[in-house]
Amino acid sequence: MLLDLTDDQEFFRETTARFLDEQVPTAELRRRRDDPAGFDPSYWQRGADLGWTSLLVGEEDGGGTISGHGVIDLTLVAYEFGRHGAPGPLVPTNIVAAALGTAGGEAQASVLADLLSGASIATWCYEEPGRRPLGEVSLDIRVDGDHIVLDGVKRPVESAAQAHHLLVTGRTDGGLTQALVPASAPGVSVTPLRTVDLTRRFCSVRFDGVRLPIEAVIGEVGGAAGEAERQLELAVALHCAETVGAMQQGFDMTVDWAFDRYSFGRPLASYQALKHRFADMKTWLEAGHAVSDGAAAAADARTADAGELASAAKAFLGDYGTELLQDCVQLHGGIGLTFEHDLHVFLRRVTLNRVLFGTPGDHRQRLARHVELREAVA
């Protein structure tokens, strides 16, 4: 997270942090382990009141930022989500809200308003089963007169069983098309997946000849590749901010533990072999803060290197996020593997985030492509 927030940003972050402290302490997260949604609608609505859903949407559409940099502001919420292991469809709802704010038509105005108010939630159906390069989409969106027809499977999709609206990215001839699909549309079937996470819920979503009026299309038919990439950058930046929050929390807990826990008459924090591992962890953590902030700032300013920075952030945080939390477990010993301990809440968060919207390996392939294109120009 940024070291120098504005006063407004700091107040905003602090408000969300306090709200999450109250609403979703780790005991509450444990209690909700089998809750199908993982959160109450009222929780989400109160979060929307705090501004969780409006930061990527222009004021003319009912949104607004804290600092003029909505993406950065939103990463403050994401960071606190990571630090608390908080539930709620923060990433997907904001992605959909941003997409509707940018390219949504009249048909979607009321949907957007409901998303902003927290009255309804939405999710983005992007990734697909099976190995493929990140960003390769095969779900079929066919134009049939003044209708479109969707066929294919998306997974994993966050909160799909709770979402009222599904933003679906599919392929139409050579290009990408995005459509907003009511979750209740005939032909949509949602199957819960099992996950490593305790708080968030993911599903596989199948579209069997789902037929909608062409007004469901967001943006241009066959011309949504740029929007999809933009959404991917946002999703990655937000997950990275969450991951950094979870890393920070796990790290802080483990530093406290090292000072408090005595072994052979000395605190763990006095053992040089452990001290050096804490130094490594601190370095990964600060590097993680730095690149996560860099990716958020680039996505906010829509600079040319936003995609590359997002991939660098994801490649780095995917690997080092899990390594850091795993080393926190190691330093705790057996107690760090128990359900009653808080550590796994954060390990779960970074573990799942690591594989969402591209694994570190997927993003390294993207980075290589960036390097190749740049060197070809140079």
Binding site: P156, D260, G265, A273, G333, R354
Partner: protein
Amino acid sequence: MTVDTAEDVAAFRQRARQWIGENLRPFSSSNTMGLRVRTSEEELAAVAADRQLQRKVFDAGFAGICVPREYGGQALTPAHQRAFNEELTGFEFASRCQIPTMSPCAAVLLEFGTEEQRRRHIPAMLRGDEIWMQFLSEPSGGSDVAGALTTAVRDGDEWVLNGSKVWTTGAWWSDWALCLARTNWDVPKHRGLTVFVLPIHQPGIEVHQIEMLNGARDFCQEFISDVRIPDADRVGEVDEGWTVGTRWMSHERLLFNSPYVTYPAGLERSLAEGSAMQIARDTGRLDDPIARDRIGEARALELVGRQLEQRLAAGIGSRRLSDQAAAIGRLYGGLARLRTATIKFEIAGDAGGAWSDDDGTAAEIGLAFLMRQTSCIGGGTTEMARNVISERVLGMPRERTLDRDVPFRDVPRSPSGRS
């Protein structure tokens, strides 16, 4: 019956093979301890089945192959036990009656117990009537087991125990425990310990099942309040518990190689969940050079690990390596298993994070990844192994300890009182 006149190994093996083939069912992981998450009812049923199975082996004369006859055993040699274990490969066995019941608990009683203690407990163990646990680790202790805070105070012919023990596998369905307790706070830590045996299920002992983050509930914690133990249930001398404790831990480290333990040879190796190659197949990455690179890495780690185990066993056996060199195998094994769990998770891709039951071997790989550090924590951490290797194998200066030459009550302890 002496070793000279004992049945030779080949004949014993033949007899064992025949009996096993005629009487035991094929091995199934569904019933074996620690291999799956089970409901309490399922676990209790499995315990009862294990007791019956152990009794069947006992009645056939194959229990306690290296245990003296006067305690219900067969008085044969480790080679006989190995032969039996080899013949047992692929068959069911009483997993819950082996470790820690036979080793280290029976082993410690054989070495330090009174004649009465041995005659009372060891035949009962071999019949499956008594399942034992180790009351060794404590919540405050971590790697420092000699820093036990659980205290036994003498009261006439009895001792009164108070404290807490943890990481006891299956204590909630076990019968007896071997317990390390502090009997003197006014001497340095290794000189004020004593070992006892006690029944687990009695007023004053509350057994709490610990849920692990993957849902397993095998481990327990016990809260011990004013439990009274007759002095007859003391093992070894008062305040000499560390003498017992050192051997206790040495037996513990033998695991399935203990001559008192019946365990199908090669089982551990065959128990690995889906191989990295299977996961690649199930996630469509069989032709991905990166996945194949990782598969090759996992395979190399496995093969190197086997060669290393052989080298260490041979070197320790021939005294070319010190006993402490076993820590090298522990460190390698911990790190290799950790890396292999990571490789599998990486190959699984997003199915490692979110999966359906249709994902074959990729399903639940994410949970194994969450539990990854188990291989570097359980049975002594890799940090302790590194201390042993550098100090005991390479002879580097020992870490400074602040608990050696002072009365245990004066050892610096956690400011929060948590430890």
